[in-house]
């Protein structure tokens, strides 16, 4: 394939995005972009994906009217139940899509990064189901705090490769996956787990996750006869947020993107005490895109922090950086405490244990109900089984 960067559409979102990668990776990314463009127009591809989403992933997920939470907050709250997707999080929407793309490109091996382990699990599922050799890069620190997910991946035949460089968390796992891909791209697909990184990942991942917003739009219209006043979603790299926001961008709906406030804004030179790249970050290049990142004045990437491993990332997708700058999306924060409060409240009030990542969206909604309007959808991006040990430790510390 002989494609040029100019030919690929949608590379930039305002000044954000792009393709800031070593030359060896330029061609594999352009080939992926071109292959994806072709598949977007293929009915057969969409039929196959739809079938897997329905019969394997369990879509559509319910849009559930949370009666008790609504009473508590004095407004109507609906929950988009991505926690019910096979694997326990929205991540499978994307891995199924990219898995099919990789299959059609003739790749035989998948690599992926994972932080919380949810994307690693979703990749392992697809690897097993669609028949790929699968290797997952995971920081040593994350392996320690997400042991169950490591075992789940291994059960499904994926190999988990510990990453010992840098801060030994998600960002370093992405670095390692990119290094791997630079020498294996001929037979390997890099299955990036969020709407961040170099083109075409931000738009491709958003598209595959847009099934969340498409369903929610239909469901809320049926249930309420109108669109919601607001939608709340947590933001790590931005895939569940962009997925539910994208179909509403042209509507009069307040889009609230909740980042990890962690322990607060206080940062030393080396460590950001949060994962709030939109809130506290500045323009810079990380993992192939110009976006908002947490960095020191010299441009060294800071170690982020959040009680939720899936939000513990010092960057954010370029489209969210752009939408935040134009004012279409409102970046907000929930700190660890607020998230834990959301985690407990949803468990107690509705009998739904959310992922700690999703608990940031819930905690935020509970602490700022006036920002929501009368009718709100909260994206429950995943379920919380993986987080029980973390929450127990948190309560005891």
């Amino acid at each position: 394939m002989n494609c040029q960067i100019e030919n690929a559409a949608g590379i930039k979102f305002g000044r954000y995005g792009g393709l800031f990668v070593p030359e060896t990776l330029v061609q594999p990314l352009l080939e992926l972009a071109e292959a994806y463009e072709q598949m977007k127009n293929s009915d057969e591809f969409h039929r196959e994906l739809k079938n897997l989403l329905k019969n394997f992933a369990g879509r559509p997920t319910p849009l559930y009217y949370a009666r008790n939470l609504s009473l508590e907050l004095g407004r109507k709250i609906y929950l988009k139940r991505e926690d019910l997707v096979h694997g326990g999080a929205h991540k499978l929407n994307n891995t199924l899509g990219q898995g099919l793309v990789a299959k059609r490109m003739g790749k035989t091996r998948l690599i992926a990064e994972t932080g919380a382990g949810q994307h690693g699990v979703a990749t392992a599922i697809v690897g097993a189901n669609l028949g790929f050799e699968t290797q997952i890069y995971m920081g040593e620190v994350d392996i320690e705090r997400q042991k169950m997910n490591v075992y789940r991946m291994e059960l499904m035949g994926a190999e988990v490769i510990p990453v010992r460089s840098g801060s030994r968390t998600l960002k370093d796992a992405i670095n390692e996956a990119m290094r791997d891909w630079a020498s294996t791209f001929e037979h390997t697909h890099y299955l990036l787990g969020t709407a961040a990184g170099a083109h075409p990942f931000p738009s491709m991942v958003r598209d595959f996750q847009s099934v969340i917003g498409d369903e929610a739009r239909r469901q809320i219209s049926e249930a309420e006869g109108r669109l919601p006043d607001s939608i709340v979603a947590c933001v790590g790299g931005g895939s569940n947020a962009m997925g539910i926001f994208a179909p509403f961008l042209k509507d009069d709906v307040r889009l609230l993107a909740v980042e990890a406030g962690g322990r607060g804004p206080g940062k030393t030179d080396k460590i950001a005490d949060n994962g709030a790249s939109l809130g506290y970050g500045t323009d810079g290049v990380l993992h192939g895109a110009l976006t908002k990142i947490l960095q020191d004045p010299y441009g060294q990437i800071l170690e982020s922090y959040s009680v939720a491993a899936g939000l513990d990332y010092p960057g954010v997708g370029p489209e969210l950086a752009y939408l935040a700058e134009t004012g279409r999306v409102h970046p907000r924060m929930a700190d660890d405490k607020t998230a834990i409060r959301g985690f407990r409240a949803l468990s107690r009030l509705e009998g739904i244990i959310p992922a700690l990542e999703s608990a940031h969206a819930i905690g935020y909604a509970m602490s700022e109900p006036d920002a929501l309007g009368e009718l709100t959808i909260i994206n429950v991006s995943g379920r919380g089984d993986k987080d029980l040990a973390t929450v127990m430790d948190y309560e005891n510390s």
Binding site: I5, P22, E23, T24, R179, A182, Q300
Partner: protein
């Protein structure tokens, strides 16, 4: 200009070291010793927290250098005192350049005696703002091409680069390897006439360096092998390696080595 001039005396040996490893104080002396041993151009790496184009050897060097206090201000101080025996070239990731401001970075290069910049995660399509700054301050912006760069793109990169064209010897990241691939020879042969070509990534022995020169390169770039010796504190072996490489490439081009 200094870089092009150097290439008029090819074959050249280009040596990469990570500035600040093992300490910022040690770097200027290392630069001088490498120049005396036969390095024609020295690539001075600015360590980054997230070096995605580098293998374990240079990653570790970057971590040591950052821990030893290297940052962009110190980097330019070090470059200024390293002397001008041979041309210096900046090598570092785009975010470090972006964070300082493109114009300021290019000016600091010029003012501290750095003749060119290599930014491995900045393809030409994203580079025009930095290119403008480099032109303003008379600094060469050196682009990279790889074995999987298709013909039309290779032509474009060859036209955009200034100083020389950096040919990535193989897919993947930096780090010592034991052979030179046919892919690399093909890439060297594919570059349009008249563009100075330096080959790097994976070259660690005099034989490999000689091999790429015989295949038509104007310069061989050695990085991880030198960084590894610096990590072990074996500076005399480092000087020996550089001398041997210099001799090997001179022989490969059928020239007597000029060692001073």
């Amino acid at each position: 200009m200094r870089i092009l001039e150097a290439f008029s005396h090819s074959p050249l040996l280009i040596v990469y070291i990570c500035s600040g490893d093992p300490s910022p104080k040690a770097t200027p002396d290392l630069v001088r010793r490498l120049a005396r041993a036969g390095a024609d151009i020295i690539e001075l790496g600015l360590p980054h927290s997230d070096p995605i184009a580098d293998g374990p050897t240079i990653q570790a060097a970057a971590q040591r250098a950052i821990a030893a206090g290297m940052n962009t201000d110190v980097y330019f101080d070090v470059a200024s005192v390293a002397g001008d025996a041979v041309p210096l070239v900046f090598m570092g990731y785009y975010n470090m350049v972006y964070a300082r401001g493109l114009d300021r970075f290019a000016k600091d290069c010029k003012d501290s005696g750095i003749s060119g910049m290599i930014v491995p995660d900045l393809p030409p399509e994203e580079a025009s703002p930095l290119k403008d700054a480099c032109v303003r301050h008379g600094v060469d912006l050196i682009f990279l091409a790889a074995p999987n760069t298709p013909p039309a793109r290779l032509k474009m990169i060859s036209e955009e680069t200034s100083g020389f064209l950096y040919l990535v010897a193989r897919k993947g990241v930096t780090g010592a390897r034991s052979d030179v691939l046919q892919d690399t020879r093909d890439l060297i042969a594919r570059v349009p006439e008249g563009v100075p070509k330096a080959v790097g990534f994976g070259i660690s022995t005099p034989e490999q360096a000689a091999d790429v020169i015989r295949a038509g390169a104007d310069a061989a770039i050695v990085g991880s092998a030198c960084v590894d010796l610096i990590a072990k504190g074996e500076i005399e072996r480092l000087e020996r390696l550089v001398k041997d490489m210099k001799e090997a490439i001179a022989r490969a081009k059928g020239k007597a080595p000029i060692v001073c």
